[in-house]
């Protein structure tokens, strides 16, 4: 019966010729699926947005620094300050195979202390200066404007006095249209050649758009830091458990620096991977919520269809009686009502999907240039849509059963008497 073209044209004529009824019925489910699509699309957009915020940083990375000890150990009393050394890097890498990259970093101006004065001709200002290895970009990507480059191994090897400056530094120290690359600026009392300008990206932690990067080796000569390391940026392999790696790193460092294993204060750390997992959990929760709300709304819509069909069956008692007098079997009448229900559900569902997609496209266009709000490319995965359509067909059938049963429970003779 479902595959007869006639059946469908009969249903089509029945639903298209009762416009008011059809419209009201359709709106219920249309609204439901519309909410479903927009909500889950928006949740996906937020999810993508978070991902974009984090894409500049290796998602399973962490920072490790040192503080004062809080437990006496091996004859040392508490309150001892421990210092990370360059050698720790090699030890960590050999002892913990899950580690992909370790970037030892030093900085002046970030964690207390005066930022160095940077001078360019007559202009000057205070900016944070980092001593870095090139490997740091593997952990937190740095975009360099065309014509420039980031630090490289040669810079490290020869202790070159070169620097990568920030967008803001360029804006504040250089004239407009002046190409900073190749020019010299003075960091405290030494001249450095600018080799690149880095583009500021959100989500890079404590770094900002004025930061200046110089080779690690140059930094230690300039500020006499020797083998000392300010903190370590560490990235684990993608398949590693970041929290586990963080624990291991701390254990190894405590070993090296004669710190009691139970000392919670001596080594500080910030685990981006963990934060990222939390954010991901949040957006997963949001997706789940939107799914639940959306499906509940579809439910409500389909129940609305059932409701209206039930009323319309009452209204059409006479028509259905006539049909049966003319030879429609109870199954044919039932089938017609159920198929009308499924048809209405599907049509309104598809309309709702289209409408929802349009709204999502609108939101996408509107948030295209918004960078301070995590929202990118709101989409609804195809399986969600197929799932929703399936749910609608099943619910439409089930809900159609009630009015269909009602329609055939009245004897044709009674149906014909109905005024």
């Amino acid at each position: 019966m479902i595959f007869r073209r006639d059946t469908w044209s009969e249903i089509l004529s029945s639903v298209t010729k009762n416009k008011a009824r059809t419209t009201i019925t359709v709106i219920g489910v249309l609204w439901g699926i519309f909410i479903y699509i927009t909500l889950s699309g928006a949740a996906k957009g937020l999810d993508n947005g978070f991902e974009r915020q984090f894409e500049r940083v290796a998602m399973n990375s962490m920072f490790v620094w040192t503080q004062q000890t809080s437990v006496p150990y091996k004859g040392f009393k508490t309150g001892r300050f421990i210092q990370l050394k360059l050698n720790d890097v090699r030890t960590l890498k050999t002892k913990i195979p899950e580690i992909q990259y370790v970037a030892p970093r030093n900085a002046k101006g970030v964690f207390g202390g005066d930022a160095p004065t940077i001078t360019k001709d007559l202009k000057h200002g205070k900016y944070n200066v980092y001593g870095d290895f090139p490997v740091v970009v593997k952990i937190a990507t740095k975009d360099i404007y065309d014509g420039g480059r980031f630090l490289n191994e040669e810079d490290i090897k020869h202790d070159r006095k070169v620097c990568v400056i920030g967008e803001r530094t360029q804006r504040e120290l250089f004239n407009k249209n002046e190409n900073p690359v190749g020019q010299f600026i003075k960091i405290d009392n030494s001249y450095f050649q600018v080799i690149g300008v880095h583009k500021f990206v959100q989500g890079g932690g404590f770094e900002d758009d004025g930061d200046i990067y110089i080779p690690f080796t140059t930094f230690r000569k300039l500020y006499n830091t020797g083998e000392n390391v300010g903190w370590l940026a560490i990235a684990a392999y993608n398949d590693a458990d970041v929290i586990e790696v963080e624990k291991k790193v701390k254990t190894v460092l405590k070993d090296i620096h004669s710190v009691a294993q139970e000392d919670e204060r001596a080594i500080g750390s910030f685990n981006l991977g963990e934060i990222f997992n939390k954010v991901q959990g949040f957006s997963k929760g949001l997706t789940f919520l939107s799914l639940v709300v959306g499906i509940a709304t579809i439910f409500a819509g389909v129940i609305g269809i059932g409701n209206i069909l039930l009323i319309s069956v009452k209204e059409r008692t006479r028509e259905l009686g006539v049909r049966r007098a003319l030879g429609a079997t109870p199954n044919e009448v039932k089938g017609q009502i159920i198929l009308e229900s499924v048809f209405l559900t599907l049509v309104s569902g598809v309309l709702g999907i289209i409408l929802g997609a349009l709204v999502l496209a609108g939101i996408n266009a509107a948030t295209q240039d918004v960078t301070d709000f995590p929202y990118t490319n709101p989409t609804v995965p195809i399986p969600y849509i197929v799932g929703a359509l399936l749910i609608m067909i099943i619910l439409g059938t089930l809900i159609g059963l009630i009015p269909a049963q009602r329609a055939v429970s009245i004897k044709p003779i009674d149906a014909l008497r109905e005024e």
Binding site: S9, V322, R324, L326, G327, A328, P330, K411, I413
Partner: protein, 233 residues
């Protein structure tokens, strides 16, 4: 064509049992045009409904065109109705959102006749009742007489053995009534068996035989000289 023996039918009305038909014996030959008369409550509509398989009999037997109508469930009844019977109602019972043509084609739809053939046949019957020009009109755009003619075309479309008309002129003025009766007479002239329930004397006299019902039994069954409706029009 129709053979009814010892037909009894009663309805339960709360605690009362209403004995509507109390032993009807009744035969109709092919090509007859029978008027069933009686005051309201005489059981004439019940008889028609049982003949029309819209209602079930309690005891007795009913044979239609040699087929004993027994063990009737709804599906079987629907098939028999579609194959053997055409209905004409007092209130026309056209489907209001379908055009005249679609209404006439409806019984053929349930016979699974393909759309094209269905429409051709429907148009043929609409032409027969003189409404070919009104094929695309909705019932709301037709007069009472036109509606009844569409209903007659619909009853004919499935080429039934018997036409059952329940007060076919009950909702029409006398001029229109005669027009409708003239049409029914013409159909009968072509050999179709007709059963007409009416309480109007002049309508009954346009049939070939009058069966009088009173309190559930046949009190009179006589052949009459048919008055041609065309004399009045």
């Amino acid at each position: 064509m129709i053979a009814i023996k010892d037909l009894h039918k009663s309805y339960k009305m709360g605690s009362n049992v209403l004995h509507v038909l109390k032993g009807i014996n009744f035969n109709v030959e092919e090509g007859e045009m029978v008027a069933i008369m009686g005051s309201s409550g005489s059981g004439k509509s019940t008889l028609l409904n049982i003949v029309g398989m819209l209602d079930l009999l309690d005891t007795g037997s009913y044979t239609l065109d040699g087929v004993p109508i027994v063990n009737l469930n709804e599906t079987k009844a629907a098939k028999y109705r579609n194959k053997f019977l055409g209905f004409i109602f007092q209130s026309f019972n056209l489907i209001n959102y379908k055009t005249a043509l679609e209404n006439v084609a409806l019984p053929l739809y349930y016979q699974r006749v393909p759309k094209k053939e269905r429409d051709e046949k429907a148009l043929q019957y609409l032409t027969k009742v003189g409404l070919a020009n009104w094929a695309t009109h909705l019932p709301s755009e037709l007069s009472g007489g036109q509606k009844q003619r569409v209903a007659i075309a619909r009853a004919l479309a499935a080429q039934p053995k018997v036409l059952l008309a329940d007060e076919p002129t009950g909702a029409l003025d006398s001029t229109t009534s005669y027009e409708v009766m003239q049409l029914l007479q013409e159909i009968n002239d072509e050999g179709k068996t007709l059963l007409v329930v009416t309480h109007e004397e002049d309508i009954a006299n346009m049939c070939k035989r009058i069966v009088q019902l009173k309190d559930g039994i046949i009190i009179e069954d006589k052949k009459v000289n048919q008055v041609r409706a065309s004399e009045y029009v």
